[in-house]
Symmetry: C2
């Protein structure tokens, strides 16, 4: 079964204050780290970059992203050949995903799921809030997971789900909307999304810990 990866690095970094995918982390750019792990675990890799990108990653097929994250995923999907049977979508803003995590989501789809996502428990209590900032409810936490990327899917299911050009929070939501069966595999606490500069310090601390781990 051929596995293709779509690494999404098309964000402008508006919240971050610049293109975070180019920030260095332990001597390598964030985007390079994301591509490395996709290359190590998938048969083909497509990198989705901003339309005006003046940077590349050597030896990786890059395509221009769209106006939204979903549009960028569709651009990546279109660049993967028809022989690909499983597609892994990964956000470059999560540079600490490891090969074992990619392998877990891929294995779950090989085993019959339409999609597989990494999930981690939510440490904080989660509440629903109205527009005025008043709490309207507390959500029972034991039924909730925070999900990450990489997310793996049957290629035909993901293509069908994206055919109507939907906008979803993540690709799994798009597949769920079509009635696909998405399963949760064990995520990685370290696999957080880089959203603000402080997250780079945190990621650096993780890399330092990994470097000395037995």
């Amino acid at each position: 079964v051929l596995v293709g990866a779509v690494v999404v690095a098309a964000g402008s970094g508006a919240r971050f204050g610049g293109p975070k995918q180019l920030c260095e982390l332990g001597g390598r750019r964030i985007v390079d780290r994301a591509v490395d792990v996709a290359r190590a675990t998938c048969d083909a890799v497509v990198l989705v970059v901003p339309p005006d990108a003046d940077w590349t990653v050597p030896d990786v097929h890059a395509v221009a992203g769209g106006a939204t994250r979903s549009a960028s995923v569709r651009a990546g999907l279109a660049a993967l050949g028809p022989a690909i049977e499983i597609v892994v979508v990964h956000d470059a803003a999560r540079p600490l995903a490891d090969e074992a995590l990619f392998d877990r989501v891929i294995a779950a789809v090989r085993d019959g799921a339409d999609g597989a996502v990494p999930g981690v428990p939510i440490a904080d209590t989660v509440k629903q809030v109205d527009a005025e900032g008043t709490v309207t409810g507390t959500i029972p936490r034991d039924a909730l997971v925070a999900v990450q990327t990489p997310q793996a899917f049957r290629a035909d299911v993901l293509r069908a789900a994206h055919a109507s050009r939907p906008e979803g929070t993540d690709d799994a939501a798009v597949v769920e909307a079509l009635g696909g069966r998405v399963v949760v595999v064990a995520g990685l606490a370290d696999n957080f999304k880089i959203t603000e500069p402080a997250d780079l310090d945190r990621a650096g601390a993780v890399l330092a810990r990994r470097a000395v781990a037995p």
Copy 2:
């Protein structure tokens, strides 16, 4: 208006592998940091410790906790005098809460809310999962916040809410169940809960950053 703080440090640290409240963070114990900020912002502080605690914090009134977090909060509440009109409940496992955050939740209750909690956006997509690990739904993220402590309440409302000895995920849930109006104030991304040893590294990185901030 007199403000009392209940600092809950009664956990056994089962998940952590020991009493995390005694771990050192930048040269001070986690519990000391939590007490420091409560002292700086509240008129009275009660510290809730494990029933078998062989440690103290100098010059703080300590009481023994109960079998659950809610029981421990009730033990702290019982030790605050009747003149206290606003109660702030804070988990010692969040040593990076700052004085401004305490002031924000207290101010919201002074301004008329029954309760006030710090909330931060949730970076990951949140999904509901069934017992088999299959996703059953994606929760619209813009209506959700992850809430932290310190949480402030009108003392009479919090005492009434705890009178039936309920168990809630947090104190706000207990007040919400009674119909109290709880509002969300801006939380602090750094104010995460120490739940595993890696979180100590992360907290250390935050302290280092604060030390050099302009």
